[in-house]
Structure formats: structure tokens, C-alpha cells
Amino acid sequence: MLDTIGVADINALFDEIPDALRGASLDRLPDGLPEQAISRLMRERAAADETGLCFLGAGAYRHHIPAAVWELTTRGEYYSAYTPYQAEASQGTLQLLYEYQSMMAGLTAMEVSNASLYDGASALAEAVLMAVRANRKARERRVLLADTLHPVYRQVVEAIVANQGIELEAIPAAEADGALDADSADGFGDVAAVVVQQPNFFGRLESVDALTDLAHAAGALLIAVVNPVSLALLKPPGMWGARGADIACGEGQPLGIPLSSGGPYFGFLCTRKAHVRQVPGRIIGRTVDLEGRSGYTLTLQAREQHIRRSKATSNICTNQGLMVTAATIHMAMLGGEGLRQVALACHHNTARLTAALTELPGVETVHEGPFFHERVIRMPGPAGPILDRLADRGLLGGYDLGGHSPQHRDQVLVCATEVITAEDIRHYAATLGAVLEELHHGQ
């Protein structure tokens, strides 16, 4: 090959790089490992990370994933394919993505869906940017975020829209209720968009019908942040209030994506057809080929960075295609009724869990009112040490709300999905009882 090129050795191929720049020694890099050695190392590390029973939620949820989902998803034809720019050679991925868009449109009761964004939090940031672009009537670039929104989502929105001159303000929630008070809100003023999460960060259900109508009365677009599994049971954003939400987005992880320390997951974004040209990211459309057969292709690419450059709706290019592949297969496998059963099981298990835990002295629920599959529990003392002791016993007892606000340091957000059994719940209650007993006696 070197002879064909006409050079003496491989280093000659780098002769356009100035000598002064070359020759870093890379001392900090270790020697290469054969597959068997890296396999041994990774097995040891993975084994060290194995955790037992988990009652954590707060944005990522453990669900059963049918075996076929990842067996199919990791087929090389999906796993190692590129973005389907060459439509004729990518009909598999493209048809799957069209089916995904259809499923998400059905689940949210919205008209259109894109083909994914990075994760739930960044999808919300893109939704906020999109709403400000789409709402041409709004005089102010003001966006209201519910106080009951996931606090990390708020941080991500702040980081991503920071340089766009968008004002982010909070809608306060009643502390005791854990949800927004739609009745006492006297209008939202001049605002481009309102963000409401359902179920909210505390697991509570918001009065989404009234909030949607309030947002529309203020001339704002309503952005719904939703859990896709809950939508098999709860009213979908497209049906909220008199006119429905304008944008529905959220975290796709509960649809067949493993927890995997936080990623890769995927963000979804659905909206009305009228706003489709403001949507960020890829969209697949059905069309016909030269012979009139139906086929699938990327469409409306004039919104995207590779065509529109500095005037694109977003800089996003790579998305989360493989995660969407898994989610599509997962949704097809469960169907609407299967997904509804999962949602119901999560709800019932969380109800049973909180009933069992609150039988212990000093343990109580913090909010009344309807919830989906998470609830806030008040412990008889600071949650941190209690959760630590539970972890010592191989049990992750929930999310410590004190991490975001010190006044909530005795509060824990717990979640019991469909994978939790009655025995698991008894075990949690018994273990918590023992831990509280220990702490009470100062051990």
C-alpha cells in the first residue's frame, strides 16, 4: 500500500504536520489490553457496583424490559448503522422511527413527534426554546416553570437557554399540597410559555386541565413534561383543558431503557402540526418511491443545522436513535393494555409501600391528594443517615429531598414500580423499622 502511495514509511503520511507539534509522549496512557484482560477488569468493577433492592425514582425508573427488546436492538444492523441520510439503504431504521413517532403521537394524543432528543431535561430546554420561537404573539420572552418541576430539569433549562435572553420565572406551589394551586392563580400575565410536569417531581398529579386553560388565557403555550408510562393510565397532554397542551416532552427511559447510571436515555418531543416547522431534531415522513411504493425518509430538513446552519431550530445532529429503537420494540411488545397494566402496578405498589412504611412510628406521608407512582415520606429525623444505614443493608430507600432544599432534609421521595413485590415491601418496612430503632437508641 505504501508503494502504491509512493512513500517510504507510514510516518511520511504525516509530513504536512509541522514537526514542532508532533511527538507528545503520551506517558499517562496505559498499555493496551487484550479483550480477556479488559473483560476481567470490567466484570470486577461491575460486580462491585451491584446494588440490591431499589426504591429510587426521581426521574429514572426501574421497569421490567422484555428479553427480546435488547436482543433485537443490539443486532448489528441497528447498532452499527449510521443516521439514515441514505434513505434507500436505511428503510429499516426509518420505518421503525416512523412507527416510533406514531406511537408517541398516540401516547401523548398530540399530532406529531420528532425522532428523539438527548434526554428528558435537555428535551425540555429545547421545548422552551421552541415555544418562544413559535409563540409569535407573546411580547415578552418570559417562561414560567412550575415549582414542582424536577429541580435538575430547571438547572438544565437554565444552562441551555442562558444566552438567549429568556426570562425564567417560577410558579409557586403550596408547600403542604405538593402541587400547584390552579384556583388561586389569578392569571399568568404576559408570558410566552408555561411548563407543567405531570406527575410532578413529588409524584403528585397537577390540575392540568385548569392550568392548561390558564396558560392559554394568558396567550402562552403550555409545555407538558410527562412520564410516558403514566400516559397509558393518565389523561394525555393532547386532551388537557379545552385545547390540549401545545408541546409534550419528557424522559423516554421508562420505555425499555436500562437505568445504566443515568444514560444513554432519550428525550421525546411532540406537538401540534401547526408548530412542526419549529421542532428541533430529526423527523421522518412517509412518502412514495419512483414505482409508487411507500417508503420513509428524513423530512423537513430545512429546519436542521446541516442545511440551515446558523438559522437552524437547534444545533442538534446526533440524537438517541438506538434508545428509540429499544423503546419502539418495548411499546410494541407491551401494547396499550400492557403498558396500562404496568402503570397500574406501579401506582398500586407505591400505595402499598407508603401504607406499610407509615405504620412505623414517626413515619408519615407529606402530601395528600392523588399521586402516580412516587410519594414523599417524612422520616422521624434527617433522612441522610437513615438512607445510609438502609444502604448498608443493601437497600436503596429513596431520594433524599434535602439535597435540593435543606428544609426538606427529613423527606424522602419513594417509588415502587411493577418490579417490586409484596415481599420487597415487607422487607423495606422491617429494615426501616430496625434502622429507626437503632437510631432511636443512639447506636
Binding site: H150, L322, L344
Partner: protein, 502 residues
């Protein structure tokens, strides 16, 4: 490969994958009816076997690295080692909740910390944050840090980002998302940035410049040190778009070239899968002066060797968080496995063989009479050929060649990018292909050109061997059909049955 019905169209009311539901549970009594869904969500009603068969068949309607040579310029479609995947899917990694305490994550965090360190070393920079979830998000983080840096110095007049005209579309789109104006810098006839134009463009409004090196034109920017001096002297910072890092891995480091901040597409250079469009990972590396602004979280290690999350408490000037948790964590594990398998020596082997394959393929195509665009330049890991002459003389366009290559079993190279070169194909063979595969590609190119000379109409109709012929993209955009609805039945059961009978 027939025209498969949609999964929705294969269903029957009430049909279920019975193993996949937890039971028959009662409606909840604690949730008032106003909160509940009244109508079913319109998901498919199919059996488990139908799902498995449908998505297996759909997979067979795809090109992929595992099945086809994919010389897609700028995308680095090299083999994704299977070990990276299977080791990232070990139960201890897969089942770990993102909020699990750090003591239940020391194995995972050790991998991330070492990956941060290896990437810092191989790029010649002071620190690395792994949170950006794709190249474009890495770009966003990088440019947002440039903005935060100038602001922290009360240097608010710096409102412009310079971008060469050959740059990826994500560069200008990112600069705008970060609140900057974009100023384009032209390229000279040899493919280098026009130095005179650069000198005239820099000034007190310059926040920084975004560069890819080797550039998207497939050549190394030879005066990079001089450019770095010009931009730095004007008070701006240098951003390195790592899309083409594969070409120089282990050979020359962006930090040594004078760059202040870079992103690395781990799904290119570190061989994590493209997955039909993602997920990627866009780790960023920074020099000393941008360290305080890095996106969070980052993995830290204390003196006892224990790993912890570096948070806002440690880095109050951070640009913040770009994802809810730790970016595309599982992708990072795959990149870590790949980097450990390569090791020190393997890193430079990547660049050597990628460059060897590109220069070999370029030479062979030139020998066969194809027009290499920068004929006096060394190819990096990719190169451009132009069909300007064939288009003029025979009507053979880059698009025709790209589509016909599919029939020959080769994924098309990147076509019509960069925008500066007429009728171009950007070809990147990567280091993992054999000489035989490259020779086969040359033979296909020669045969296709001859087909076009002999019968241009036949070439214009390509592809013929794919599941569909060329698609009506105008119709796709004008008559938007973006989702199946209950009641749609364009592909009827009868036609499916007929097709299967054939």
C-alpha cells in the same frame, strides 16, 4: 426484501404479548376520573412473535458497519468492537440507578475518571468533562464556556465567533445558541484557512474561532500555530471541533496546537456505535483557564483513591448541567473499554492506519482517473473527489454515483459536503477496513462511471436492489405524513398476503 406493513397494521383487537404484563389490576380508587385516560393510546396489538419477526425483518432493510463498507466522510464509521457493548451491559453497570450513592458506584466512576484522564492526555489538555451527550452538545458546552470566560473578565464586547466556510453546520448553529454572531472566514485554494482574511476579521469583538483540524476538506491546517497566535493576540479563544480527531490520534494533540477547548465525538474516534443516529457522546477537554467553567458533574478522586462527583459546590462558575444525570453514561463505558484495549501504542496506530487507508484509496482512485480535489495535498483520514468533469461531460452526478454504490453493496460516501466543492464525495475509509475491501470499492467506482457513460438514464434510476427506489422527498415535505393513525390502512392486509405469496 418486500415492503413490510407497519406494526400497527399487523394487529388484531385484544391481541397481546401475554408474558409482558404484570396482571389484571383494578382501576385505581385514589385517582379521580378527571385525571384518567379515557381512550386507549393506539399502540400495536400484536403477539410477541409478531414483534420479534417484524423488527428482525426491518433490521434486514438497513445497511450497517457490520454488514457493509461505509466510507462516509466525516463520520468515522469504523468497526464497533463487540466487547465494548457486552461489557457496558454487565448487570452491575446496567442496573445501577443514577441516584445510587457513590459508594455503590466506585467501579463505574473509576472507569469514568480514567477515561477523563486518558482523554486529557491524548488531547493535551488540562481537564475533561464527559457529560455532553453528542458532538453538538459538546460544542454548545465549549462555546458557552468561552462566553462565560469573557464574561468573568468583564469583557462583554466579544460578541463574534469566527467559523471557516467549510465548517460543519453544527458550528454556526451552536454559536447562535450561545448568543454569538457568526462571522465566516473563507478558505484558500489549497484548502487552508485564508490567513489574510483571518487577520482582518479578528479584533475586540472576537470571542473565539471554531476549527476542525484536519479540516472538513480532508487536509491538515498547516499554519495552525500561526492562527492560534493571531486569535490569542486578539483576545479570542480557540475551539477544536473533534469530528476528525481520528486522523491525528496519538500523533499530534489539539492542546499542543494551541486550542483552549475541544469536543471529542466518542462515537467516531472512540468507536462507540452510531445506533442509526445516536446515542453519541461529546466529551469536552479544556485548558487551564477554562477549567472552572466545565459542565457538571465531573468525577473527582480524593487522596484515599475514592471517587466522588464534583458539583456546583466545588465549581460555582460552571456553565451548569446539560443532562439530568451523567450524560450518556453507558456510551462512556464503551469508549473506556475501547481506549483501554488500544492503550498508548494503539492510539497512534488508529491514526496511522486510517491515514494509510485514505491515502491508498485516494491514490487508487486518482490512478483510475477520478478527480481528487486537493491533488497537491496529503489526505488525512479522508479526502474529496469531485464529479464536476463527469457531470459536465456525461451527466454523471455525485448523487448518481452515491445511489448506484448502494446496489454494489457499498454505503454511499458523504455527498455534497463540504459545500465549497462542486459534485463532491467525501470519502473516509477508516482504519478497520482491509485492502481487499478498498480495492473492491475502486472497482465498483470504475464500473459505475462506465455504466453512466454507456447509459446515463439507467444510472439516473439507481438504486435498483434496495427495498425502495429513489424516494419522492418533495412529496414527503409537502404532504406531511409523520404518524400512522388508527383507521389508516394504506398498506392493506391483502397486499401483504399477496407479497408473501410471491
Amino acid at each position: 426484501m418486500g415492503n413490510d406493513a407497519l406494526i400497527f397494521e399487523q394487529g388484531s383487537p385484544g391481541r397481546r404479548a401475554t408474558a409482558q404484563a404484570p396482571g389484571h389490576l383494578p382501576a385505581p380508587d385514589g385517582i379521580p376520573a378527571a385525571f384518567l385516560r379515557q381512550e386507549a393510546p393506539g399502540l400495536p396489538e400484536v403477539s410477541e412473535l409478531q414483534v420479534v419477526r417484524h423488527y428482525t425483518r426491518l433490521s434486514q432493510r438497513n445497511f450497517s458497519i457490520d454488514t457493509h463498507f461505509y466510507p462516509l466522510g466525516s463520520c468515522t464509521m469504523k468497526y464497533n468492537p463487540r466487547a465494548s457493548n457486552s461489557l457496558a451491559l454487565l448487570p452491575g453497570f446496567l442496573d445501577r440507578h443514577p441516584w445510587a450513592p457513590t459508594r455503590c458506584g466506585q467501579g463505574f466512576m473509576a472507569c469514568l475518571w480514567e477515561l477523563q484522564d486518558m482523554l486529557a492526555e491524548v488531547t493535551g489538555l488540562a481537564g475533561v468533562s464527559l457529560t455532553p451527550m453528542a458532538g453538538a452538545q459538546g460544542e454548545f458546552a465549549g462555546v458557552a464556556m468561552i462566553r462565560a470566560y469573557h464574561r468573568a473578565r468583564n469583557d462583554d464586547a466579544r460578541t463574534e465567533i469566527l467559523v471557516p466556510d467549510a465548517a460543519h453546520g453544527t458550528n454556526p448553529a451552536t454559536a447562535v445558541m450561545c448568543g454569538f454572531r457568526v462571522r465566516e472566514i473563507p478558505t484558500d485554494s489549497d484548502g487552508d484557512v485564508d490567513m489574510q482574511a483571518l487577520r482582518e476579521a479578528v479584533g475586540p469583538a472576537t470571542a473565539g474561532i471554531m476549527l476542525t483540524n484536519p479540516s472538513t476538506l480532508g487536509v491538515f491546517e498547516r499554519r495552525i500555530s500561526e492562527m492560534a497566535d493571531v486569535v490569542h493576540q486578539a483576545g479570542g479563544l480557540l475551539y477544536y471541533d473533534g469530528a476528525n480527531l481520528n486522523a491525528i490520534l496519538g500523533k499530534v494533540r489539539p492542546g499542543d496546537m494551541g486550542f483552549d477547548v475541544i469536543h471529542i465525538n466518542l462515537h467516531k474516534t472512540f468507536s462507540t456505535p452510531h445506533g442509526g443516529g445516536g446515542p453519541g457522546a461529546g466529551a469536552i477537554g479544556v485548558g487551564e483557564r477554562l477549567l472552572p467553567f466545565m459542565p457538571l458533574p465531573v468525577v473527582g478522586r480524593d487522596e484515599s483513591g475514592e471517587y466522588h462527583w464534583v458539583t456546583e459546590a466545588d465549581r460555582p462558575r460552571s456553565i451548569g448541567r446539560l443532562s439530568a444525570f451523567m450524560g450518556n453514561a453507558g456510551v462512556l463505558l464503551r469508549a473506556y473499554v475501547y481506549a483501554r484495549m488500544l492503550g498508548r501504542e494503539g492510539m497512534s496506530r488508529v491514526a496511522e492506519f486510517a491515514t494509510l487507508n485514505a491515502n491508498y484509496l485516494m491514490t487508487r482512485l486518482r490512478q483510475e482517473g477520478f478527480q481528487v480535489w486537493f491533488r497537491n495535498r496529503r489526505a488525512s483520514h479522508e479526502f474529496i473527489i469531485s464529479f464536476r468533469r463527469e457531470a459536465r461531460e456525461h451527466g454523471i452526478t455525485a448523487m448518481d454515483v452515491a445511489k448506484r454504490l448502494l446496489d454494489y453493496g457499498y454505503h454511499a460516501p458523504t455527498a455534497y459536503f463540504p459545500l465549497l466543492v462542486p459534485e463532491c464525495l467525501l470519502i473516509e475509509p477508516t482504519e478497520t477496513e482491509t485492502r481487499e475491501e478498498l480495492d473492491g470499492f475502486v472497482a465498483a467506482m470504475v464500473a459505475i462511471r462506465q455504466e453512466g457513460i454507456d447509459d446515463i438514464d439507467r444510472l439516473k434510476g439507481a438504486p435498483y436492489a434496495m427495498p425502495v427506489r429513489r424516494l419522492d422527498e418533495v412529496r414527503a415535505a409537502r404532504e406531511l405524513d409523520l404518524a400512522w393513525r388508527p383507521g389508516d390502512n394504506r398498506t392493506t392486509d391483502t397486499s401483504t398476503a399477496t407479497r408473501r405469496a410471491k
